[in-house]
Symmetry: C2
Subunit: 326 residues, 2 copies
């Protein structure tokens, strides 16, 4: 089975590549993975080809995705903080490149599985205490708008028979390994990751801020599950709100204290950033995710386990810790 | 006050042009209207300039919309049946041209009022008996998807301060003067308009099919209201479900019988078209429209009045009846 992954140089994609090589998809071995990203995929394996290029480049796509490609995972994106700061870049990557990619696949005529990742940023405005599967998307950031547009395109390309698409609205990933990024949610990993590395972390939101979180391990599990899922189970609604954990920043820090001790948490400094607070506060922080659970998607047990899994990961030699993203 | 209208050659735009010339906007006279469409605006008036061109043409937009343009009404669109039959054309006009237009206006830096029209086709899937203001958009046609993408763009361009936007989700217009078009809902005017003109009309859906309707007069009233509305009343939600009438095809025909007699209704022949039935049945047919009513948007009284208003219109000499669209 041949798979293409955009944004393949990112931490999540690298973990996904490793997972797919080790476990296959629905019992079928993965014989070849082609990644397309501005940075190379750090996983070294004969089955992996890493193309360093822009995902919106038609010639690159022609090389990377053919009739032999059984599935595409489209992770490449300009993240929330950057899409807000550079509107044109966000539109170009998050909308235009997604369209070029979908058009390339449509032209193949093979209707492969297409897994797209969206975000809690799809939601905003007045929200119920717990987001329901039929809660209206009302994004309050350019990133959120661009992601919802991607969801709509994936749905319509699926309805038209051009791809077999599924969009996962992924909770904020915590604890994301590697360096801080330009996502407004970057701190949700930084306040755990940096103190554990002996580095001071700045928390730009209050301890009361509640977020909807998922560990990298569960996110990978859910992406792999989306690759294997029977598309007909999704009917005419191809967008799935993933399960997650609703955790306040205060509880995250308590969990860090439980897992790693008091001294570590003293490396966290609160320094409010109104721009980040505004974006993060506009996101929902709790979901019922009934449909996703029925479809077999999963959440983490608790946040202490997430911190401990991160500590176990950084304790091990891995391609990620050997080659942290620049 | 200077206004630009895309799709200005259509029947709705022509009525809007006439209305704005006669009534102004919020007490201010309209001194100039520039229309951009593939067909000329049939309204003959020294204040109207009709540019016959593609709305996605940057050079045309540079000529038509300047810092003096206080408002833009973006009506140009590929309609539902045609967008379903020609996916690429729908994407090009309904998404790409909308983006070119928004980008042109953004570059002016004047943040004019931007009125965009969306549709009941924004909705689909499992719907409540009456659509609420927070009902999720789940379009089941390419037209619906493209319109919701337009809504999202208008919202984000507004949030970013590039335009002062408002999207009206307009009910199906009935009775639309002129010739049949490629909208899946074309019959909702045809079954009234054609029999009144002594011509047989084919109804492709059953008499039980219920629709969400608005007369051309009320639609024009609501478009003009959107031009005058204080944008701050809309907050962070720039998309408004318009009020309308929930009427079955059977009730529409009864109203025609009441207004015009039995002989006229005998010109209607039922001939089911599964493709049209599928699209129309996916649309909601009743709304609460609480927010729109509070904002001052209005519905018709009843369908008999709509038929009678159409009969009065075709009885009068008007630019529309003198120059029916080709």
């Amino acid at each position: 089975m041949q798979i293409a992954i955009t944004g393949g140089g990112g931490f999540l994609a690298s973990m996904l590549v490793r997972h797919l090589l080790d476990n296959g998809v629905a019992g079928k071995p993965v014989t070849r993975i082609i990644t397309i990203d501005l940075v190379p995929c750090p996983v070294v394996d004969a089955r992996v080809e890493s193309i360093v290029a822009d995902v919106g480049d038609r010639d690159v796509l022609a090389r990377a995705i053919s009739a032999q490609t059984k599935a595409i995972v489209h992770l490449a994106a300009v993240v929330s903080g950057q899409a807000e700061a550079d509107f044109d870049l966000g539109m170009r990557v998050n909308i235009d490149a997604t369209r070029v990619l979908l058009e390339h696949i449509r032209a193949l005529g093979t209707r492969p599985r297409f897994v797209f990742t969206s975000s809690v940023a799809a939601f905003g405005g007045k929200l119920p205490d717990r987001v329901q599967d039929d809660t209206r998307a009302l994004p309050q950031s350019s990133y959120g708008v661009q992601k919802v547009i991607g969801e709509l395109l994936v749905s319509d390309y699926t309805r038209k028979g051009y791809v077999d698409g599924i969009t996962l609205r992924v909770p904020t990933i915590s604890v994301r390994p590697g360096a801080p990024n330009k996502a407004a949610s970057s701190f949700a990993s930084g306040i755990i990751r940096e103190p554990l590395a002996g580095v001071e972390a700045v928390c730009p939101v209050s301890a009361e801020m509640r977020m909807w979180l998922q560990s990298p391990d569960r996110a990978i599990h859910n992406l792999a599950h989306a690759l294997a899922l029977d598309g007909s189970l999704l009917g005419n609604d191809r967008t799935v709100n993933l399960p997650g954990l609703s955790v306040s920043v205060g509880t995250m820090i308590d969990a860090l204290r439980i897992a790693a001790g008091d001294a570590v948490t003293r490396l966290i400094r609160f320094e409010p950033d109104p721009a980040i607070e505004r974006i993060v506060a506009s996101w929902p922080n709790d979901f019922d995710a009934v449909r996703a659970k029925a479809l077999g998607f999963v959440a983490d047990e608790d946040y202490v386990s997430i911190v401990r899994a991160h500590m176990a990961r950084i304790g091990n030699a891995s391609p990620l810790t050997q080659n942290p993203p620049a």
